[in-house]
């Protein structure tokens, strides 16, 4: 049997960052006490009617432009009918034949080079509520806070053939949606969700194999693991001469395996039909142009600007744009102190190190861009010794104090005191006759030892340049 080749397509759901829900004026914020963010409309009371939130429409158009989609000049909404306790109207307002966005593409980078993934469509719909199963009381409780949060569904063509490609694509979609400022893309909170359709067949086979749909994927990593598992599972079945069953499967993060959620026989007939409560939208060219122009600078544009205008290396630019919150922090710091290279160095160094160590998070940050900008400025202008960045930044994070206050309290400011410098360095030289001999015999590398000693003794109260000059002068004897 020839090698089996996976074919994968995605359905990605992204919650839009509008202030209010898509068909009523309730807050669309994440969380809240159960059923505290509901009204007669989103809880489906008799007689209520949906009113389309035009900001949500604007956001999906923006999303469509970032993925190179055609925007339908005529778009309308349909009802997807099915019974489920988290769906108060027993139909979801969605879009079937006339979605807002069609025929786009997104380019991704993989270890085998660049690849273009085609987008079939993106449509705007409403999210459902959440069910909470209480084992203690054996009851199922419904929370409708999430009902009516605007959701876009991005449907790709089956253009993926590996977990790597899929993961790269999701990361790319995240960047696009975050930079367009339409979704916060938090997979763990469910604001970005991904369903995977995967089938296996011999390469270049005329027909794709029978597919399974995998749900409940809460991270990019889980998507990758689920795909690897499905490839393994389906390969086992097919190589043993069996048949893959068309069904929906759920992935378990703890076992790393997928299991049957519902079979094809349980599939709903959604009885789609045009929603008579929502008039279709007809866009004018001017409206679409205005939305396109309102798109913020995208990640790719920022990266190019950093490389062209600031001379950043590609790898550094990539690292900076990879997280929009960090990149925005950088941009805001530049507004206070416009020295891109030294601010970048601080961000890539001390700043990212603390994030990677888990000592800080962009979600609840104690430091402001202004404070970081000032800190770097003090280092650049020899107000402080850069060796003290670490101590000062750590204290900024821990105490929330400004760099100025921390330097005051710890006496970190550089002193313009030549006598002190001369005295301290004189002592170091006097106390280390051995290394002095070595240096004078031409062993340049012991200079580093003296720098270290001097820094330690001076606690950063002199700049490295001043120390170097004084050391060189004194060592020459």
């Amino acid at each position: 049997m020839a090698r089996l080749y996976p074919t994968i397509g995605l359905e990605i759901h992204a919650e839009l960052l509008t202030k209010s829900k898509v068909f009523c004026t309730c807050s669309a914020e994440f969380g809240g006490d159960p059923n505290s963010r509901c009204c007669p409309v989103c809880s489906g009371l008799p007689g209520t009617l949906p009113i389309l939130n035009h900001t949500a429409v604007e956001y999906i158009v923006k999303a469509g432009y970032t993925m190179n989609c055609e925007i339908s000049r005529f778009t309308k909404w349909d009802r997807k009918n099915y019974f489920y306790p988290d769906l108060p109207k027993a139909y979801q307002i969605s879009q079937m034949p006339r979605p807002v966005c069609l025929n786009g593409h997104v380019d991704i980078k993989t270890s085998e080079g660049d690849k273009r993934i085609r987008i079939n469509r993106i449509h705007l719909e409403e999210d459902a509520g959440k069910l909470v199963h209480d084992d203690y009381s054996k009851a199922t409780l419904a929370d409708y806070n999430r009902c009516g949060i605007p959701l876009i569904e991005i449907v790709t063509e089956p253009d993926f053939h590996s977990a790597e490609e899929v993961m790269a694509f999701i990361e790319k979609i995240r960047l696009l949606l975050k930079y367009a400022e339409v979704c916060d893309c938090k997979m763990e909170q469910g604001s970005l969700r991904c369903d995977v359709n995967i089938s296996l067949a011999e390469k270049d086979a005329e027909k794709l194999g029978t597919r399974a749909e995998i749900k409940n994927l809460n991270s990019v990593k889980a998507v990758g693991r689920a795909i690897e598992y499905e490839i393994y599972r389906q390969t086992e079945i097919l190589e043993a001469g069996g048949e893959v069953v068309q069904e929906t499967r759920r992935f378990s993060d703890s076992t790393g395996e997928t299991s049957t959620l519902r079979s094809k026989e349980d599939a709903h007939d959604y009885r789609y039909f045009p929603d008579p409560d929502i008039p279709p939208i007809i866009f004018t060219e001017e409206e679409l142009e205005a939305i396109r122009e309102s798109l913020p600078e995208m990640a790719e544009d920022r990266k190019n600007r950093y490389m062209n205008d600031y001379g950043f290396k590609e790898i550094d630019a990539d690292t900076l744009i990879a997280d929009k919150d960090i990149c925005d922090f950088f941009e805001n710091a530049l507004k206070v102190y416009n020295n891109p290279k030294t601010v970048l160095n601080f961000m890539l160094g001390e700043f990212m190190r603390r994030i990677n160590l888990g000592e800080m998070s962009m979600d609840n940050l104690e430091v402001t861009p202004e404070q970081v900008a000032n800190l770097v400025k003090y280092g650049d202008t020899d107000k402080i010794n850069k060796n003290n960045y670490k101590n000062i930044f750590k204290e900024m994070l821990e105490t929330g104090k400004t760099p100025e206050a921390i330097c005051d309290e710890n006496d970190y400011w550089v002193k313009e005191d030549n006598d002190l410098l001369e005295k301290v360095i004189g002592e170091i030289i006097a106390n280390n006759p051995g290394p002095v001999e070595q240096y004078r015999a031409g062993e340049q590398k012991v200079f580093g030892f003296f720098m270290g000693q001097a820094n330690k003794a001076l606690k950063g109260q002199a700049t490295p340049n001043a120390i170097r000059e004084m050391l060189e002068k004194k060592l020459k004897g």
């Binding site: 489906g44 008799p46 007689g47 949906p50 009918n81 419904a142 008579p276 929502i278």
Partner: protein, 482 residues
């Protein structure tokens, strides 16, 4: 006081001149309801306390010289229009105890005028039916003959107006549900243009066809109420911003030169002779007033009933899905939520509602959509086109409202298709989003009222009221003797 002949317009004068107080007026009607409604069964809920406190408030407004057209006027509201804090049942066991936490837009508008709500009127369950006999609670009877149906689905509102149990009422019309009961009960009922009145708070039957409208004793009264409830609404995206000043503004203008079209399909053998004769007599009356009668044809009428029942049932099947026992309404039992939903819906809905849900879901099912629903939408376009053509050469259209007068209770119980066919004269108006008014044009040999419908161009309610009013001024109504 002769409540059966008292119009809203005359009550306004009496209230403003202090000939009667608002509380006294409300009490008169409440007393009449207590006396007579046991024979008619027009109300599901009588809101006596609310009515009296609203009347006191209205009196203060009148005394302050700030009265508007409906201040202190006692009205009845169909029980599918949501009233904050007052049960809204849709005549269904499903919503037997449902108390909305909000007001429909029309109720907010009436409240702004300080009207007095007397209660909520019975109807066919979820507005599905033409007899009021599908109501789970009050199977309303015709005030002219309590062995006959009052029509439906706004049969409670029409019977209450006819029997003098309110000054006027609000109904809703999806396929004739204002005009047909108005016809059977000998009163005037106006179905406004789709989009003229907000549907927010009207429990949906068929969203693309539903429209709230007034039922009253005269066309002028209908205009007064429409003035109060019409207008674009931020809560209803299908409501239209078509400005108006006064729907009664054309009352009294001459009909000279007005072109009245009589589409021949509406005068076929399917319509009783006595009905046809009465409507034709009215047409002659219009001719005497200077109007010109124009022959015309709406050949798609033969497809109207099937197209209507497909569209309306499809939308209804979806609209009624929310009654699953989970959030409100009747809750059944079961070991899983599927079982619980099934039990809730089996017990909560009556036979007619179930029939239409089945029909609608069938029509929308995969594989049948193109054969049924899509064809019905195509017919809708054809019907709209034919009406547009007629309105190229006529100002209004005159038809019978129903093929017969009110029939005996039970007469059509076992033949839903026959009952559906009786909607032939009314459904095209909803499909084409047009306004239409029913007014009484005669009585049959048994004294049962015969109604005629005047259909107008979109948003031309003023001409309908003018035309109906012109006839009413020549006509002496015979009120029921209840």
């Amino acid at each position: 006081m002769d409540l059966k002949n008292t119009t809203v317009a005359s009550l306004r004068k009496m209230l403003d001149s202090k000939e009667i107080g608002a509380a006294e007026l409300a009490k008169e009607f409440i007393g009449e309801i207590k006396d007579k409604d046991s024979k008619v069964l027009s109300y599901i809920t009588v809101t006596e306390e609310n009515a009296l406190s609203a009347a006191e408030k209205a009196q203060a407004v009148i005394d302050g010289g700030k009265a508007t057209a409906l201040t202190g006027i006692p009205l009845a509201i169909k029980d599918n229009i949501c009233t904050d804090g007052v049960k809204t049942t849709c005549s269904s066991k499903m919503l037997e105890d449902f108390v909305p936490p909000y007001n429909a837009t029309v109720i907010e508008k009436l409240n702004a005028e300080n009207y007095v709500m007397l209660g909520k009127t019975s109807m066919d369950e979820f507005a599905m039916g033409g007899s009021n006999q599908t109501s789970a609670f009050a199977k309303t009877k015709n005030p002219y003959n309590t062995e006959c149906v009052p029509g439906g689905s706004s049969g409670g509102s029409a019977a209450a107006v006819s029997a003098g149990l309110c000054a006027a009422a609000l109904g809703s019309d999806t396929g004739g549900s204002i005009r047909q009961p108005a016809s059977f009960c000998g009163v005037t009922g106006l179905k406004p243009t789709y989009g003229r009145v907000s549907r927010y708070g009207l429990v949906a039957f068929a969203s693309s066809l539903d429209q709230i409208g007034p039922i009253a004793r005269t066309a002028e009264d209908c205009g007064i109420i429409l003035n109060a409830v019409a207008g674009v609404d931020a809560h209803d995206a299908t409501s239209k911003n078509v400005p108006f000043t006064d729907f009664n503004g054309k009352i009294g203008e001459s009909l000279k030169g007005m072109k009245i079209a009589l589409p021949k399909e509406f005068y076929s053998d399917a319509v009783d002779e006595e009905v046809k004769n009465a409507v034709m007599a009215a047409a002659k009356e219009y001719e005497k007033m200077g109007a010109e009668l124009v022959d015309c044809s709406i050949s798609s009428l033969k497809y109207a009933v099937p197209a209507y029942y497909l569209i309306a049932s499809a939308e209804a099947a979806s609209n009624l899905s929310r009654y699953d026992g989970i959030k409100y309404g009747l809750r059944g039992e079961g070991r899983s939520f599927e079982e619980m939903i099934r039990d809730s819906r089996s017990r909560g809905f009556g036979e007619e509602v179930k029939r239409r849900i089945l029909l609608g879901n069938y029509a929308l099912s995969s594989g049948y959509y193109d054969a049924y629903y899509r064809k019905a939408l195509a017919l809708k376009q054809e019907i709209i086109k034919e009406y547009n053509d007629v309105f190229e050469k006529a100002d209004v259209i005159l038809t019978p409202t129903a093929p017969s007068v009110a029939y005996k209770i039970g007469a059509q119980d076992n033949d839903p298709v026959k009952m559906y066919t009786a909607d032939i004269c009314t459904v095209t108006v909803n499909i084409a989003s047009l306004p239409a008014i029913n007014t009484t044009c005669g009585y049959d040999k048994n004294g049962m009222p015969i109604g005629m419908s005047i259909v107008g161009k979109r948003f031309d309610e003023a001409t309908l009221i003018q035309t109906a009013d012109a006839f009413e001024k020549t006509f002496s109504p015979v009120r029921c003797t209840l």
